[in-house]
């Protein structure tokens, strides 16, 4: 039976705590009295996931069974989540492959000929062939891609977008035309965190910039407290409005959502998922061997090693049918895996940032993504209240190199070098620069034809952190490249001890400290 999440009170006998530090780790001694939040252990996998998938399709929630929705001569589109999920990429077969194969079998049995697959990229980069083969398997790839039946959503293709009007709040709804004009749109989702899925799958994943800008903006982000709590997330509300509008326009969506357990790292990295005082000799040896060898490994090679990790995630649930009831169940399953009850806020929150976030799979974790992971994602992994109090300090550990992937993140470079050199204020950035970047023809060209994130994407990364920037009294990066950290508007510190001393200038003497021991991911349920 997996143990639930745990809040450790650090005492004199507590061993040093492991902090992720990019493509490496730090062992840090937290002051006595600090709290460490450990995620729940991995939930057990479904015994027969293929059977569970089939059952979900045959017994959907608030929907007719999938086979009864499939008719000869119909136009069927299957959209699925892109390379940003799951993290790290999971071992094959990927859950998307399992689900898509099951849907295709039923479509074939029903005599559906017009089937297309679309990667729901939103404004993310196009996936490579290898990434697609990994996600959906060779069989599906070879059956569809050579015939032009596997496409990647292009949010800048005027010929393949359709405007479905506006919501009651004036939000433009512009979607992938093939998806929106199909007789049935099957969406295959991976729900890694509580903000994934639901109406967001289609309303965001298959939308254009014109549509996305209504909720990917500073106002929405600062009114989402947090993204992980649907009842308090303006991001959620906007997507739900758009999703309901899509349904009202006659777009029929059959939603298939899956949840994964938190078995995030393979056996050789087992120590990353265990609580330090429970490390056995194998864990200690694994930590030592990994740390020592990483110290001698050039950064580029270390990055390649880490990005080759395939997570042993197992499927914990599959639900299909109508979007909203499906997602309600999905969210409950995510919470079951990730919620950790936490009593009260803290003056200082600490976290170690790993090598990966949703936007640098097989790529470089550039400084903007460091900000986004720390302040956009990890800070927002709460329900109720943020782990850190208003005016508190967030300390994160990451090398934060001034380095960018030139193919994946071209607009990030300009954003970092030009925009952040002027201001780090999200509202000013949004007002002054967003449109320039969003409509830049070169970025649009690279997004459409290469493997580049859309020109506006670094803005969204910055907006993700807007709530944290507004809430926090300071951000300190331990072990980060000084000039990068300063460009982000944060303070650099060489050691955790230095960072804690610096934080005391903001929050006062003898602060309360809480460390988020992740990944694996968790959501702090703060009361």
């Amino acid at each position: 039976m997996p143990r639930p999440g745990f809040v450790l009170d650090v005492d004199r006998s507590t061993p040093p705590t492991l902090f992720w530090h990019g493509e490496g780790f730090r062992l840090e001694r937290l002051p006595v009295g600090s709290r460490v939040l450990y995620p729940p252990e991995a939930l057990p996998a479904l015994e027969d996931s293929d059977s569970a998938i089939r059952q979900a399709l045959l017994n959907p929630i608030d929907s007719d069974p999938l086979p009864t929705l499939l008719k000869p001569g119909m136009k069927l589109t299957i959209a699925f989540d892109d390379v940003s999920l799951p993290l790290p990429p999971m071992r094959q077969p990927d859950v998307r492959q399992r689900v898509i194969e099951a849907v295709l079998e039923m479509a074939a049995a029903a005599g559906v000929d017009d089937v297309q697959l679309i990667v729901a990229l939103a404004l993310h980069r196009r996936m490579t062939e290898a990434e697609l083969r990994h996600a959906i398997g060779d069989r599906v790839y070879d059956a569809f891609e050579p015939h032009g039946l596997l496409t990647q959503h292009d949010a800048e293709d005027p010929d393949n977008l359709i405007h479905l009007g506006t919501t009651e709040q004036g939000e433009d709804v512009e979607l992938n035309k093939r998806a929106a004009t199909s007789d049935l749109l099957v969406y295959v989702n991976i729900n890694l965190v509580a903000m994934d899925g639901g109406h967001k799958s289609v309303a965001t994943g298959l939308a254009s910039y014109r549509s996305l800008r209504h909720h990917h903006n500073v106002r929405t982000m600062t009114h989402s407290r947090s993204f992980m709590d649907q009842h308090k997330s303006e991001l959620h509300s906007s997507n739900w409005r758009i999703g309901r509008h899509i349904a009202a326009q006659g777009v029929k969506v059959f939603q298939i959502e899956t949840t994964l357990n938190s078995d995030t790292f393979p056996d050789q990295f087992n120590f990353l998922q265990r609580r330090e005082w429970e490390w056995n000799w194998r864990d200690r040896a694994g930590f030592l061997a990994t740390s020592k060898s990483l110290q001698r490994t050039p950064a580029r090679i270390a990055r390649n090693i880490f990005h080759s990790i395939k997570a042993p995630h197992d499927i914990t649930s599959v639900q299909a049918g109508a979007v909203e009831p499906v997602h309600e169940l999905t969210t409950a399953n995510v919470y079951k895996q990730q919620l950790v009850p936490v009593d009260g806020q803290t003056d200082i929150v600490t976290m170690g940032l790993p090598y990966i976030c949703p936007y640098n799979v097989n790529s470089v974790m550039n400084p903007i993504l460091v900000m986004c992971l720390g302040l956009g994602y990890f800070f927002n992994l709460y329900r109720g209240k943020p782990v850190v109090r208003e005016g508190g300090v967030l300390i994160m550990s990451h090398p934060t190199p001034w380095e960018f992937h030139p193919v994946h993140h071209p607009s990030y470079i300009d954003f970092f070098e030009e925009v952040l050199a002027e201001t780090t204020d999200p509202l000013e950035i949004e007002a002054k620069y967003e449109e320039q970047f969003a409509t830049d023809p070169w970025y649009i060209h690279l997004y459409r034809t290469s493997h580049a994130y859309h020109g506006v994407h670094p803005f969204y990364m910055w907006y993700w952190g807007a709530h944290a920037l507004e809430h926090l009294g300071g951000v300190i990066v331990v072990g980060g490249e000084t000039r990068s950290v300063r460009r982000l508007g944060f303070k650099p510190a060489s050691t955790l001890r230095d960072a804690l001393e610096m934080a005391e200038d903001v929050v006062g003497r003898d602060p309360s400290i809480t460390h988020l021991h992740l990944p694996p991911l968790m959501i702090a349920d703060v009361t």
């Binding site: 470079i413 300009d414 070098e417 030009e418 320039q436 830049d440 023809p441 070169w442 060209h445």
Partner: protein, 380 residues
């Protein structure tokens, strides 16, 4: 009088070229430049005056000469031995403080009638810089008859003398000549989106002139060093980037596409204040089709692929010195934008090697303009 003398000596010129190639400014240690006691130049005529320099700047063209990098083009329009120094503020015998406008044109050479260019006031285009009653020399500081600023005495024609108002310090006054070059460069630019490559004295003064006398929509400056960046910002640059970030910045500003390194659109005008292979090649990469590259920095011999110039109908325009009017405007610019602050270091003549090395490495050492301070020189 004490003077730094540049003599014709091929072996020493070759040595300077080698040394200067290894370490900028090192040509002063081995080359044809030396500190000497020489006779002061004689007054060539009635309208000539003796000027006792107070400050004399070290210019990029001086450094190129000392390090043996200047073009052979200059050979017919200089005369040896000469005393370098053409950025000069000095005193006349009656104590009047003057800035010397160094161009040696028809009037100074006793040529009548003056050439068409001089007649129009465009004396920087004078056709007679190697003729008349003076030895050849395009400017004071390159002519064996007039002497130059790196000494305690030189001669200048009345037409070259501009009285310095009391409100201008010596430091400000010595900036008038380079500022006049910048005024001239800026006057040739009417475009809206302008890139300035280089943020040494000339680049910074050009930014100041662009903003003071015009209203371009966007001025992007490529600057290497922190002090240069700060000054560029203060003087009116809208965007300041590292030199290797210029393409990216202009691409974004002009919403250009890109073909390898070549922007498909680009800046309407590029002002190259560096003048070497790399800066000219970069200028051609970032200038818009039909745009103009203004060569303000003295280029010398360069090796650049001009295909894009041909294909995109780009104009390459030289910008030398200043007109009579530019020189007058430069006083206004220097005072209004406090360009005297660009003078970062002053050296006595006997420390000329240090001064030249400092000037040759000015940006890296946090300096802009380095000058000789003659005010306390023996024999002045």
């Amino acid at each position: 009088m004490r003077a730094l003398l540049f003599e014709r000596s091929l072996p020493r010129y070759a040595a300077a070229r080698v040394a200067g190639g290894l370490s900028p400014g090192a040509g002063a240690r081995v080359g044809p430049l030396s500190l000497a006691d020489v006779d002061p130049p004689e007054l060539p005529g009635d309208e000539w005056h003796r000027v006792r320099p107070r400050l004399a700047g070290i210019c990029g063209s001086d450094l190129a000469t000392i390090d043996g990098h200047s073009s052979r083009y200059f050979e017919p329009i200089v005369s040896f031995p000469f005393v370098p120094g053409h950025e000069i503020v000095g005193d006349l015998d009656d104590g009047t403080r003057v800035v010397v406008r160094p161009t040696l044109t028809c009037v100074t050479r006793g040529i009548t009638p003056v050439c068409d260019w001089c007649a129009r006031g465009d004396s920087n285009r004078c056709e007679r810089t190697a003729f008349g009653h003076l030895e050849p020399g395009l400017q004071t500081g390159y002519c064996s008859d007039t002497g130059g600023g790196w000494s305690t005495s030189l001669v200048a024609h009345a037409s070259q003398l501009h009285r310095v108002p009391d409100s201008l310090s010596d430091e400000a006054a010595v900036m008038v000549e380079p500022a006049a070059c910048a005024v001239h460069a800026a006057a040739a630019v009417a475009e809206d989106t302008i890139a300035v490559i280089g943020a040494g004295t000339l680049g910074l003064c050009t930014v100041a002139a662009l903003r003071y006398f015009g209203a371009p929509h966007l001025v992007i400056v490529a600057a290497k060093h922190p002090e240069q960046k700060a000054l560029a910002r203060e003087l009116g640059a809208d965007v300041i980037v590292e030199p290797d970030g210029l393409e990216r910045s202009i691409r974004r500003a002009t919403q250009s596409l890109q073909l390898r390194d070549q922007l498909t659109c680009g800046a309407d005008a590029v002002i190259d204040c560096v003048g070497n292979d790399a800066s000219l090649a970069q200028s051609l990469r970032v200038v818009a089709p039909g745009g103009t590259v203004h060569l303000v920095g003295m280029p010398g011999s360069v090796n650049v692929d001009l295909t894009s110039l041909w294909h995109r109908e780009v104009s390459l325009r030289g910008t030398y010195a200043y007109t009579d009017d530019d020189f007058t405007k430069a006083f206004e610019l220097v005072e209004a934008r406090d360009l005297g602050r660009l003078v970062s270091a002053l050296y006595p003549l006997h420390r000329y090697r240090d001064a030249i090395e400092h000037a040759a490495n000015a940006g890296r050492r946090g300096a802009v303009k380095v000058a000789f301070d003659l005010r306390n020189e023996r024999g002045r």
